[in-house]
Symmetry: C2
Subunit: 894 residues, 2 copies
């Protein structure tokens, strides 16, 4: 018989942290906390396997589930001496989802389940607080009504507003038990009206309705979107946690709160969080009342800290915090409730954190001896480093402060004000910078938050949906900026008399919570000592070198600043667009005869030489891979009539002749056309000139600095050995001539991009002509899939939406297909040249998942954009550790 | 010590037909003829290995070559009792090239070598014919001067013309010995003037000069072009044959001729050829004098047959013909010389022939018991069948006869008159049909002949360059049409008063030699009984099925006529362009909303159903593979404003809206864009409609004919299993609905094109969703190479020209790269579904070399254009025989 239900707390404790896959994160950790002696209200977890079985069997439960649930429920009853549905001493429970990984706000929760017209009286009698009991009952109907029965929650909200108006009060807390009784009557009418059936009075019917809602919500569109964004397989399923209720809203000696064992924004080792007296947990997260700080030290004027309000419970919580950090060896995100001065733990999980906090915590915990250096390396998600590299506001920049909210997610960002996620996506797709401005955010807004530069909310705290999600995404966020009024209909944002319309700019400082009107200049971040420490540790374990893709001196400087160990891709065509060159480039292309072409190419030589000198000087002896001209020539063509006339005049040709040549150069599929080495072969003067510029520049800089420059000349778009053989001859001849003219010698190497399927398939032959390979995975992805990067927008979003493809293959390498060609290229290349230098210079070189793959196939280096170099350094270190683990799997302690 | 030189004839005979690779075709066969007792003047062959060594060592000979040549030369001297350079009894030799395969006209020949101012007197004395001796001497200087010394041959011609004018005669034969002595003096002056050195008098210097010229000519541009056109590797090299001269020009009992053992045009078993009395071999080939027929039976009025002129030698030749055919078991192309009534054999080789002749000879020899059926299958080059399928003139078509020449290569063709090969290429590249009109052709014209529809010459016989080359190429050729005057300068062709200018049309009948002014209607060929016989034999040995690519009833009829065993590719998009449909197609594409789109798609249904009914009816139970819509939608877009307005009106939308939609549909690289199954997935109604049309048509035709129709529905451009899985669901659902509506059942299968590298790389996963694979090698070639078929013209000619690629990979599959993916697709696909049906439907399905490859990887069928079906049937049979040989290599008798 399969065990579908695991009890925790109380007398039986059947789970533990190691059972996360089966019990979900929440269930596993509740059992773990109970096991280490922390106060956890008793309950049970219905396993994720039930969810899988549920969907596999057409939304039907396994046969013996009901028996097991009944037994576990009896266990809770026994532990607490309460009975489910007992009018005198009713057991109330919460029902919550709990997947393997935390999916904040994505799954639905029902509290106070078990209340009905009879048990509410028992609760009133036992608690001695009728108002509490009826408030709990209406909360239950409201939550169950919206989550399980699908009644729009504003119907319930409206009735409360009406009741408050009728009673002439402002705040929920001012409503009496009779008001709540009336609300309950109204709520039941709403349910009857909206669903055509009375609200269920049978607690068991309630329980199974809630369990069904949790499992049902696993496949709702919000959950599907979240999973897609976070690469979570649908097959994992969710568990359901049923737990005895404890009440933070039974009076002034009751409270509920959400805390982090360290500061999730900065990583500082201080107890950090918020609580509310006389409230249920959802009140803190929802942001309807403003939560208060935990410690007195952090309390501002007018705030009441938990330390002062509930000193005993606070002291116990401090001790729990230490136990949890020592036990889990990581920063925890915990939820607690204090009922009549007694502390209950309702959740612990690894806390989400900003990149800065992740870094700080990893380094600090390693220094505290809690974790090893290697564990610290593993702890920091490489892509999160992006956040540390984001700009902050320029302190000297003029600014007009508009308002202030909570500093919910660090960084600074400006953009056009936009009030809906849909509009964000539309504008972002057009390349606009936008700030999503909402009263509060909900899971429906996640896709818009992802596309925005930053998020501003007028309600909610540091643990509100907006704040948690924005931190996870690395988006700037200012939350709970209550001074700002948002009018969705008018599409305006106002602070007093100042009114900004949709489309006008604001700038957010996620580090201070400040909101500014208009654009405020930003500056590049300086990196903390922790960053250098982590990079140092990462560098000490990684095997692959990290290079940068860079053409300009600026890019090269940035690359070195971030620790690049050379340039893996210098795209010479980027040097051709400068205003002082493009004219000659166009003359070269449009030349009707060889003499004109050679003249134009010769005119480009000094420019190219200067470019390369600059690069070599900055890279000071580090390897520099220079790719000879790659794109189809018509990319450089004059666009308008006037530009065309300029070219014609410069060449002394008629406009007609030049226009005809332009037309002749246009291609049906330029990506597959006359480009790359095909240009170099048909216009050998071009590659000869570029080679000469490289060699002359290398000679000059070597002489100037006394440091040998070793250029790596790279031929693009090779598909056949013959192409590389012949191009190599052109390059070698030009290099030999340049060296002979200077009377010096110089080491240089000649290699090729592997960016066509045929190049990978015949890499053993191509390797005979190559000193190195650099996998051009952008182009390789295009031809392997037959996807044009420029046109893929017409169907790739559909593919992602419908799970036809797990992720955009231009962002993260398709290991199954494109990766197979890369592996083949590596194996075949090394089969004839064991020492062949291998790298990658596509966008994938900066993608952590792809870097893991490149480590596994044994590349020597990856090359990525300068800002991603630190990410690549860390990802390469993690990949090296993973490779080591894969080779010698050690007993792993979590 | 390497043996570089092999003697033949005389006392020593060291070679044989089996040594073709080493001795070249000519040398091997001279030795073979000598070995079987035929009269061959003694000589020796310098091996092809010397040629290879010559080029490998910077054009230097192996060390001991001179010693071996001297020894072999001494052997000839001994056999004939003549001495090289002996003024009294001089040995004269010919020096000829001889590669492994015949390269007509491409290599240079020198006759009468050994003559100088002294030996000419000895020749005069020994022959008793001073005129002959001096004529021979001047021929030698002329040939040696142009071939070895590079003097333009018109310089020599001019002097003869001048001499004839001075002597007041019309014909060379009317010149006296003194005239030739004067010509010799003049020739030597020409050589001195043109080369700055006297004509070499030393026979040994002459010999080594000629040998060097032969080897040198192996790498001349004409030879390189010929080799490229015929896939002959440069590494094969040529041999050099040095042979004692015999003279066909020593008097009226002397002659020289060129014959075929059977008619090379028709294959008829008659002795066929031409000879000239009192002439050297080159006179026949050059076409300067009009050759006479061999047999009296073939002599027309005023002609003198060899049978009558030289009856003894003729009888001997008839016997030689029989011996050769029995010995070589194939039709031979022979050269002979009669010197003073004695027959000498100078060459035998397998004769080139028309496709009709190849077929006739193969069948006849098999029926005569000379060769087996399988050998007959191997004997007919599949691509030559193309010629049998070429049109002939419609006998009822009106025509204006212009002139008549020799029926040099069969078929009928019309085209614009063009006078140079260059102009042919320019016009052919523009898609024009052209006829190359020349006085005579030379190897420089080969590329133009290739690009022309037909060739007309005004000089030369059935064995002239034009005739031989045109037959080999399958081009229509009328040769030696002496009634036509060609003026290259004026660019006119005239027959009496009728003058046609370049660009005006003529029509050739290569079967009769007739030339018509203007266009004459042609009709399709009917195939001979031999053709059916061969096809029957081929069908009995081949393993692969042959299908056709066809959409229209016409194509399908043609395909069946040629023996197609089904349709391998029905491109449904070809059905969309008809005027009654394109409007709906455009509405479908331009639809702003789903309802409009569905309406347009529904309107297309009856058309599609009708199309499929027609096909199923014609194919009568044979398999029909229907590919759902494949190309990017914008291929169907309206072009002009007026068409766009039509679409807008039909849809009730504004022109602007429709124009905007059109712009949105344009793609940067449509080949890699929104097409194939990407369309089917994003517009599922489209594939559903096509499926419904297929299923409904199949039901209807099954009911009508009582014969089960089994449609194969093919999904294009699949790169991922997920795409096929989901498309399969769309198709299955539509099929299920259509079947349910009709209340019947039907077998159908669903498969996919494998035409993207990723599909081949993941074929094991894709196979799980597929009932069959069809390799789309056109697209696969595009993406594997990164070559756009539409744009490749900008560099592929350069690649071919410069040997960067051996052949156009769109014509013959690139086995190394693209073929590797096909093999992978086969292996991976069958690894999960051993019975998976596998075919190919790219252009390569009709290419014999590619078919050989497809046999070797184990495809079940190839599908090609209807006209290539017979070629594919034969090629598949040859491939099956080759595969059998490869498995069990038997001792092969040549």
């Amino acid at each position: 018989m399969t065990k579908w239900v695991y009890s925790f707390g109380g007398s039986a404790n059947e789970g533990g942290a190691g059972m996360r896959d089966l019990l979900g994160g929440k269930g596993a950790n509740l059992a773990e906390m109970a096991a280490i002696g922390l106060p956890v209200p008793p309950g049970f977890t219905i396993t994720t396997e039930v969810c899988t079985a549920f969907y596999d069997n057409g939304r039907a439960y396994p046969e013996d589930l009901r028996t097991q649930v009944a037994a576990a429920l009896a266990g809770i009853e026994g532990a607490l001496d309460l009975r489910f549905g007992d009018p005198a001493a009713p057991l109330l429970v919460s029902v919550r989802s709990g997947a393997r990984v935390s999916m904040p706000g994505m799954m639905d929760t029902v509290l106070n389940l078990g209340l009905n017209d009879e048990t509410v009286e028992g609760l009133a009698a036992n608690s001695g607080d009728a108002r509490f009991a009826w408030d709990s009952y209406r909360r239950f109907i409201q939550m169950y009504g919206s989550v399980v029965l699908g009644v729009s929650h504003h119907r319930f909200e409206d009735l409360i507003e009406e009741t408050k108006r009728g009673a002439g009060v402002q705040d929920d807390t001012q409503l009496t038990d009779q008001d709540w009784r009336d609300v309950v009557v109204g709520y039941k009418e709403i349910v009857q009206r909206e669903t055509g059936a009375p609200f269920p009075m049978d607690p068991h019917e309630q329980l199974w309705g809630a369990i069904g809602a949790v499992f049902g919500s696993w496949m709702n569109p919000r959950a599907n979107t979240y999973r897609r964004l976070h690469d979570i397989p649908a097959s994992w399923g969710t568990a359901v946690n049923v737990q005895a209720m404890v009440f933070g809203n039974m009076g002034q000696d009751c409270a509920t709160g959400v805390c982090f064992t360290r500061d999730p924004s900065t990583g500082e080792n201080v107890f950090y969080g918020e609580y509310l007296i006389n409230a249920q947990g959802e009140d803190v997260v929802a942001g309807i009342r403003t939560p208060q700080p935990m410690s007195q030290q952090r309390a501002r004027e007018g705030e009441l800290s938990m330390e002062r309000a509930l000193p005993e419970a606070y002291a116990e919580l401090l001790s729990v915090r230490d136990i949890l950090e020592r036990h889990y060896r990581d920063m925890q995100d915990i939820e607690f409730t204090v009922q009549n001065n007694r502390l209950y733990m309702l959740q612990t999980r690894t806390g989400k954190r900003t990149a800065a906090a992740a870094l700080r915590i990893a380094i600090a915990m390693a220094e505290e001896g809690l974790i090893s250096h290697e564990e610290a390396i593993r702890r920091v998600p490489p892509s999160s480093l992006d956040q540390l590299l984001h700009p902050t506001l320029d302190p000297d920049a003029p600014r007009t402060m508009l308002s202030r909210g909570l500093p919910a997610s660090p960084g600074a960002a400006g953009g056009a004000i936009v009030f809906s996620a849909e509009e964000v996506e539309i504008r972002a797709a057009r390349g606009e910078d936008v700030i999503l401005v909402r009263i509060e955010t909900s899971p429906e807004d996640v896709h818009g938050m992802h596309a925005a530069r930053g998020v501003l909310t007028t309600r909610g705290g540091m643990t509100s949906h907006a704040a948690v999600v924005a931190r996870g995404m690395g988006r700037v966020c200012v939350a709970g900026a209550g001074g700002i009024h948002v009018d969705y209909k008018a599409k305006t944002l106002s602070v007093g008399a100042t009114v900004l319309k949709e489309g006008e700019w604001i700038t957010l400082d996620g580090g201070t919570g400040e909101v500014f009107a208009g654009r405020v200049a930003t500056i590049e971040p300086t990196l903390s000592g922790d960053f250098s420490t982590l990079m140092g540790w990462a560098d000490s374990v990684r095997r692959m070198k990290i290079r940068a893709n860079a053409e300009t001196p600026d890019d090269a400087q940035t690359a070195r600043h971030f620790g690049a160990e050379g340039i893996g891709l210098c795209r010479t065509e980027h040097m051709f667009f400068a205003p002082d060159r493009i004219g000659f480039v166009r003359q070269m292309i449009m030349a009707g005869d060889a003499a004109t072409r050679v003249r134009a190419i010769d005119a480009l030589l000094p420019f190219q030489r200067q470019d390369f000198q600059d690069l070599f000087r900055i890279m000071a002896g580090l390897p520099v891979t220079i790719r000879l001209l790659d794109p189809p020539l018509h990319e450089f063509l004059p666009h308008g009539e006037a530009e065309l006339a300029d070219v014609a005049a410069a060449m002394g040709e008629s406009l007609e002749a030049v226009a005809a040549r332009k037309a002749a150069l246009s291609e049906s599929n330029p990506m597959l056309g006359h480009r790359g080495c095909r240009l170099g072969l048909t216009y050998p003067e071009l590659y000869a000139m570029q080679t000469r510029a490289i060699i002359e520049a290398a000679i000059a800089v070597s002489a100037e600095t006394g440091q040998a420059v070793v250029p790596e000349i790279m031929i693009p778009l090779v598909g056949m050995e013959s192409e590389l053989r012949r191009t190599r001859t052109i390059v070698e001849q030009a290099a030999t001539e340049a060296l002979a003219a200077s009377g010096t010698t110089l080491d240089y190497s000649i290699g090729t991009m592997i960016e066509l399927p045929r190049a990978a398939l015949t890499a053993d032959r191509i390797a005979q002509q190559a000193d190195f390979f650099s996998f051009g995975t952008n182009d390789l992805t295009q031809t392997t899939f037959g996807f044009s990067r420029d046109d893929v927008g017409t169907f790739l979003p559909f593919y992602l939406e419908h799970d036809l493809i797990p992720r955009d293959p231009f962002i993260s390498i398709d290991q199954e297909g494109v990766g197979q060609l890369v592996s083949m290229g590596v194996e075949k290349g090394r089969s004839v040249k064991p020492g062949l230098k291998l790298g990658v210079c596509g966008e994938h070189g900066g993608d952590p998942a792809s870097i893991g793959f490149f480590e596994s196939v044994g590349l020597d280096y990856v090359s990525c954009s300068p800002f991603r170099v630190p990410i690549a350094r860390l990802a390469a270190a993690q990949a090296a550790l993973a490779a080591r683990d894969a080779k010698a799997p050690a007993a792993k302690v979590r």
